[in-house]
């Protein structure tokens, strides 16, 4: 790491996250001055207003410029979506974990300006106004969450188009589309015109934004005494005059072009998973090779530039939520994920020199942002996998590992072209998408164990006593397991219906009120169709519902089947009584459920067979149903940290789980239920039909001793390849001893830098809530003989 990067990294790590009012103010001004214009044009004008007036920040020594806020980690808010209350600000300011500093000026601005201005005009208010009572009851009960109540749909990743096209090229394409509008034959011609006009405004705004940086760099260069920095600043000025107006010509220009585009997307709105360059190693390869060939670049200088970009990601914490509680700590991570390796569009091995360079950068930088993963195809060499595993072994949870061949297969199954599939990858936690061409929206988590709990209570949520489900009959009346399972299936369908009805409305709210003309420039085929990203302009439009707690559900059903319907060691009323009292006087019965039942994660065909049935049930309720954008719904199985929240609203369950404790995580077995080691876990998880999902998340935790030496790396590599041979989608490793974690819990000050894999992302262990910390400690440690 060069001295420059060391300093920038240090600055980034020590910068204190705070709330910046800059964007809120500019957005408020734009809202107030908007005249009789269409929604897309109104949004484009707001975008332009922000980019033309926000502070230009250039940090000392940096090579890639541009900040979302006025300074690193000065975090903007998005009042048009949801406006923080004074109480929210207070909690953000004072809470122990993931806090944001809020100063008096900010408070005053909120009190006097933003809160009154936005009252009754935010998307969040609109959404809650439109939701039905039953939707709200399910939302409050913790049956599902809603992704779009605070953040915009995003969940998309860039392909290589910005490396071949500048904003001026996009402008030309927009003009072509405008020229083709047929007002006689096409009733949507006017809507298209408005959208295309908005795109044009946005493209110009980004160019102006870059020029403002160029001007600032020119001024800095004029004042600079140090000759070499002066030359650097002059070069950077030249780059900012070139990109993103024109396509980049060099490695440095390519990175700067991406970063301006990235800033554009995360300034326009706060889309989920921020934004993401996707297959960076592929995109950068031609620039890298050209630079090395003409001597303008060396591997070291390329690495330094990449590291400067990494710092930029880390400078942008995820925008804080509203309606926050002190207990809910969330995360600073905004889920941008760099993909490495995989396949090229022609199907050949995608690993190249830049891939290894990127892996070195990940290793050296050790930052939670950007997150990183490798796309591992059977065509990729083992050396690539091992390079990644040597980083994994260091125990801070990155990079995670995806099965590139399975990702392609998933995309093909969804009807994508083979090139689009191979150009795809994964983003967010584990989500599969066709990069640059797909809107793949995660709409919310779905609490599968809660559905079972409600099934056992004839549609009533025992936590609140409210009836929110169907009357599927008292559980005592089920004569056999199939009757119970059928009731479970019907309850599931009922809740999915409620969730989807809400989704359809929310989708239209974004389409009609919150278009994103800038993002639309970047995703095919929005320009060609003159249609916004949020309105279905992308080539592919997929919506997901993410199932949580499949392990807990499976084990609960397996226990009921075994003890109630097969061995008849207990009756349904007995079981319900014990659950209602959280096993208060019945530890022995809890142990029966816990210890004497088939458990998912042990390569036990009985339990794993049930897992497949739960999977099918969830899949069949969701998969293939239409959304409002011409696409369909599909399922994902990933929790982020939602298994903790869902656990906190779910009572005791028949697998012996105590009330309010976390559910199983991703497709991992219930914490501690896997007793036959990692190969058994992988075999169990391998029985799931991953190809019918858009991503599954499997967490494996190892103590460092298993991974000692080259042999340890080999073992890990074989586990990964073995799992992927069985069709697994993703696996990630936590390599740390429980002892270390407990120590960190006791002495957080000494372990500030301890990063662990949480779900589809890594985070600082000390920033996690106590419950989440405990849960990570409890995840089975697999130790070898």
């Amino acid at each position: 790491m060069t001295e420059r990067v060391r300093k920038l990294r240090e600055q980034s790590l020590s910068a204190i996250p705070r709330i910046s009012t800059e964007r809120a103010l500019l957005a408020t001004e734009a809202m107030e001055s908007a005249g009789m214009v269409s929604a897309p044009v109104r949004r484009a004008m707001a975008f332009r207003h922000i980019l033309l007036n926000k502070t230009i920040c250039i940090n000392e020594g940096e090579l890639i410029v541009g900040e979302r806020g006025p300074a690193p980690k000065a975090t903007p808010t998005y009042p048009e979506l949801c406006c923080h209350s004074l109480q929210d600000l207070e909690i953000l300011n004072t809470r122990e974990k993931v806090s944001f500093r809020v100063d008096d000026e900010t408070r005053t601005a909120y009190r006097d300006r933003f809160i009154p201005a936005w009252h009754g005009r935010t998307v969040r208010e609109k959404i809650f106004e439109e939701m039905t009572d039953e939707w709200k009851a399910c939302f409050d009960a913790g049956i599902f969450t809603e992704f779009m109540e605070q953040r915009a749909p995003g969940h998309t990743v860039l392909d290589d188009k910005i490396y071949r096209n500048g904003m001026l090229d996009f402008r030309r394409k927009i003009d072509e589309s405008l020229g083709k509008l047929d007002f006689h034959a096409d009733p949507t011609a006017f809507a298209r015109q408005e959208e295309l006009k908005a795109m044009a405004i946005s493209a110009d705004a980004l160019v102006r934004f870059a020029e403002r940086h160029a001007d600032a760099l020119r001024d800095l260069a004029a004042q600079e005494r140090d000759a070499s920095r002066k030359a650097e600043l002059a070069r950077m000025e030249e780059i900012c005059r070139r990109v993103p107006a024109h396509p980049p010509r060099t490695f440095h220009e390519a990175l700067q072009a991406y970063w301006f585009v990235h800033l554009g997307v995360i300034t326009e709105l706060n889309p989920w998973d921020a934004f993401n360059p996707g297959r960076l190693d592929q995109h950068l390869l031609p620039f890298y090779q050209a630079g090395i060939a003409d001597g303008s670049l060396t591997p070291d200088s390329a690495k330094e530039l990449l590291e400067c970009l990494w710092v930029k990601f880390n400078n942008q914490p995820a925008p804080p939520k509203v309606g926050v509680t002190a207990a809910e700590s969330s995360t600073y991570t905004d889920f941008a994920t760099i993909n490495s390796g995989g396949l090229r569009p022609d199907g050949s091995d995608g690993v190249n020199e830049v891939t290894h360079l990127v892996l070195d950068v990940i290793d050296e930088m050790r930052l939670v942002q950007p997150s990183s993963n490798i796309q591992l195809s059977r065509k990729n060499p083992d050396e690539f996998l091992k390079h990644a595993l040597r980083i994994v072994r260091k125990g801070w949870g990155q990079p995670s590992i995806f099965n590139a061949d399975m990702v392609v297969e998933e995309l093909l199954r969804q009807g994508k072209s083979v090139e689009d599939a191979r150009n795809g990858g994964t983003s967010g936690c584990v989500e599969t998408g066709a990069f640059g061409k797909e809107s793949y929206i995660l709409t919310g988590y779905f609490n599968i164990p809660k559905v079972l709990e409600i099934t056992l209570n004839d549609g009533v949520d025992p936590r609140t006593g409210k009836r929110i489900g169907l009357e599927t009959g008292p559980a005592d009346s089920f004569g056999d397991f199939e009757q119970l399972f059928d009731a479970f299936r019907r309850q599931m369908a009922h809740f999915i219906d409620i969730k989807m009805r809400g989704n359809q409305v929310i989708e239209r709210i974004y389409a009609d009120f919150m278009p994103v003309p800038f993002l639309s420039i970047l995703i095919d085929d929005c320009i060609a169709g003159g249609k916004d990203y949020n309105a279905g302009g992308a080539r592919y439009n997929t919506n997901y519902i993410q199932g949580v707690g499949i392990g807990t559900t499976t084990d609960s059903l397996a226990a009921i089947r075994r003890h109630v319907f097969e061995n008849r060691t207990m009756t349904v009323p007995d079981l319900r009584k014990s659950l209602a009292s959280d096993f208060a006087r019945d530890e022995r019965l809890r142990l029966l459920l816990l210890n004497k039942s088939p458990k998912y994660g042990n390569d036990d065909d009985e339990a794993d067979g049930l897992m497949r049935r739960v999977f099918d049930t969830f899949h069949d309720c969701v998969n293939g149903r239409p959304n409002t954008k011409g696409g369909v719904y599909r399922i994902n199985l990933l929790p982020t940290t939602c298994h903790i929240y869902f656990g906190s609203v779910t009572g005791a369950l028949p697998d012996g789980r105590k009330a309010w404790t976390p559910l199983s995580e991703g497709i991992s077995p219930v914490q501690g239920a896997d007793r036959r080691g990692p190969t058994a876990v992988l075999r169990s998880a391998g029985k799931m039909d991953h190809v019918r999902t858009g991503g599954t998340l499997l967490n494996q935790k190892f103590t460092p001793s298993v991974l000692d030496g080259e042999k340890g790396i080999d073992n890990l590599a074989h586990l990964v390849r073995g799992y992927f041979t069985m069709g697994g989608h993703h696996v990630q490793f936590n390599v740390v001893s429980a002892q270390t974690l407990r120590e960190a819990q006791r002495k957080p000050e000494e372990y500030r830098d301890l990063i662990v894999r949480v779900a589809g992302y890594s985070d600082y262990f000390c920033d996690l809530s106590k419950t989440l910390q405990d849960e990570i400690i409890a995840r089975t440690e697999h130790s070898a003989l």
């Binding site: 022995r588 142990l591 390569d603 036959r676 080691g677 058994a680 074989h718 073995g722 003989l785």
Partner: protein, 300 residues
Amino acid sequence: MTGTIFDIMRFAINDGPGIRTTVFLKGCPLHCLWCHNPESIAPKKEIFIRESRCIRCGSCFEICPNHAIARQSGRYVTIRETCQECGECLEVCYADAREIVGREVTTGELMQEIERDRVFYDQSAGGVTFSGGEPLFQHEFLLSVLQTCRERGIHTTVDTTGFSSPAVIDSVARWTDLFLYDLKLMDGERHKRFTGVSNELILSNLKRLVENGSAVVVRMPLIPSVNSDRENLRALGTFVANLRMVREINVLPYHATGVEKYARLGKEYPLTDVEPPSWERVHDAVNELKRFFDNVTIGG
């Protein structure tokens, strides 16, 4: 064909090449004082009790048809002499405090278990390892499983003390891809004192195996005050070196993880005064061995 096993351990990464499944066969003619699998020694079933898990519910006491459980001031004590290992108490012990060690399996059943991790053997050039106890103690069963593995292309390793008749050794060697061969003490007297048997047969069988072309890794448990003295190391190193074709000596530093298991069997741990060797001690031993034989590794 049936045999008695007491455990199957998957993802075994220290019992031969690659990722393996290790099958533990019950019964051993030796009685090494440091044995960390005391439940492996007796050929018959035994009852294992994890006192710390017991919630004192008394269910085992009530169900035992043989009156092998007594109540003593709120605790439930199993009288091992009376216990018939019928397993009925296990069913009602929801706390999983009770276990019968040793179960009969057929060749077919065992193969099914072995096959489960096939995908990982294929990836890692791993396979199955038979350990114990002394796997040769049930050599007929072992042979039938080994032969089936050969038919199905699964790599086999046998982890043995070598204490068996030469004829058995020969027949097993035909179907075994790799031996992990335990050598403990070169001095016959001391060997008898610490393991209960003389080492003559063990040494001659090792020679026999190597001469007949079997692949052999010698494993040496390193136990302070038992076999870590220079004299023993030198004798062992020389012996192995003279055999020429041994692949490797794998030194396994003694650890006291078996202590807990002795308690579960209601037995006294015989080696209470021995501490695990320090790192320096292990390295000294390795260096001493290396004076005679090149390929010495630390494992286990």
